[in-house]
Assembly symmetry: C2
DNA sequence: ACCGAGCGAGAACGAACGTTCTCCCCTCTC
DNA sequence: GAGAGGGGAGAACGTTCGTTCTCGCTCGGT
């Protein structure tokens, strides 16, 4: 078995378990059993549980960014690309394993006690906001639109997680439509 | 010392500690020391840590509802009452002890492992949405406005918590203004 | 065939947690 | 003043966790 194959399986298994039950609720021995790996190999690949957590966060960030880009990439019109963010959310919320944004959750669980986790969550959210800003720029929207849409997306995630339903995505999407059209209307009127 | 005085001090201290560092990170002995109470009295007042957590959630719910109502109550115009929600958030975010919504945090930490915590968080959020719905009704807004504003408020809380700044409240507020005016414009046009 | 290196299984360890128990002192009553 | 009862300080207990150690076994090179 390839070494990096064990690594990726460990991280993938940890991602699932941590997402389903929380980071602190999953011990190293359970992770070892679920990943089908020996405790020795586990500590050979990762020096500590904290490093596994950081690897999981990296994996989540990559998976989120790729999934988002894939959904947004399917449409061309700048306005619809902004709305596609919420289509991605809607599809994510329908996943049975959805239990809220992993970064919000890990921040809530460990942010106060682990500066690494807190900083990574901050970076992830900042990178999302930056991505939204690029999409908003392409649509010719004023700079204040991107934070508004980001906050909507954030709120949809926590609302869907706690309520246990996916309807927040639809509601956020229609709100986004209003905000986008208002912002674009402002720039159009300004340009005229 | 009054028995209920000890109870409230225990819950108040637990609220602070749990908010600052997370529920799982604060042990019973630390809580005992911070509350200035004996371990015996602690377990005399509460049968378990879980019951303290639930009492803290109740306290948070009451404090949130009262604070919100106080801020909203200062204005009379229905539209401004809806916006006052975000003024309340702005003032809350500026508090040094702000570390995100306690319900989102406790849900992320324990929701997957404690049905009681998950259900209480759900109830709290539902009661907030209901409150927003009443305010929106008073303003004559269509029913879809309240969930939109709730999602905005939710997103502002997590964004402010993770970013560590209060500006999300201002951004959410201006987004709310757009959504409210759009919704009221629709009803006004419908009425005409 | 033999030896050494690497691996898996799981025991072991120290710390921390939630909870209970023990001991001692203070106080109130007769 | 003696005894009982309640409360505080903290030791003790059982469990769980993260991490390390031990012990055989396997397997590749000579």
């Amino acid at each position: 078995m390839n070494i990096s194959e064990a690594r990726t399986r460990i991280v993938a298994t940890a991602d699932e378990l941590y997402n389903a039950r929380g980071i602190q609720a999953v011990g190293m021995d359970e992770l070892r059993a679920a990943a089908g790996v020996s405790l020795k190999k586990l500590y050979q690949e990762f020096p500590s549980k904290g490093s596994i957590v950081m690897a999981v966060l990296e994996r989540r960030h990559k998976s989120w960014a790729e999934g988002l880009e894939a959904t947004v990439g399917q449409v061309a019109a700048p306005r619809e690309r902004l709305l596609a963010i919420f289509d991605y959310l809607a599809q994510w919320f329908c996943d049975d394993s959805f239990r809220g944004c992993g970064f919000i959750n890990s921040f809530a669980e460990l942010g106060a006690v682990s500066p690494d986790v807190a900083e990574y969550a901050r970076e992830h959210k900042a990178s999302f906001q930056e991505y939204v800003s690029r999409l908003a720029d392409d649509a010719g929207a004023p700079t204040y639109l991107a934070p508004q849409l980001s906050i909507l997306a954030e709120g949809a995630q926590t609302t869907a997680a706690i309520a246990g339903t996916a309807e927040a995505a639809r509601q956020a999407r229609s709100a986004a439509e209003v905000l986008i059209d208002a912002a674009l209307g402002v720039t159009a009127r300004r340009a005229a």
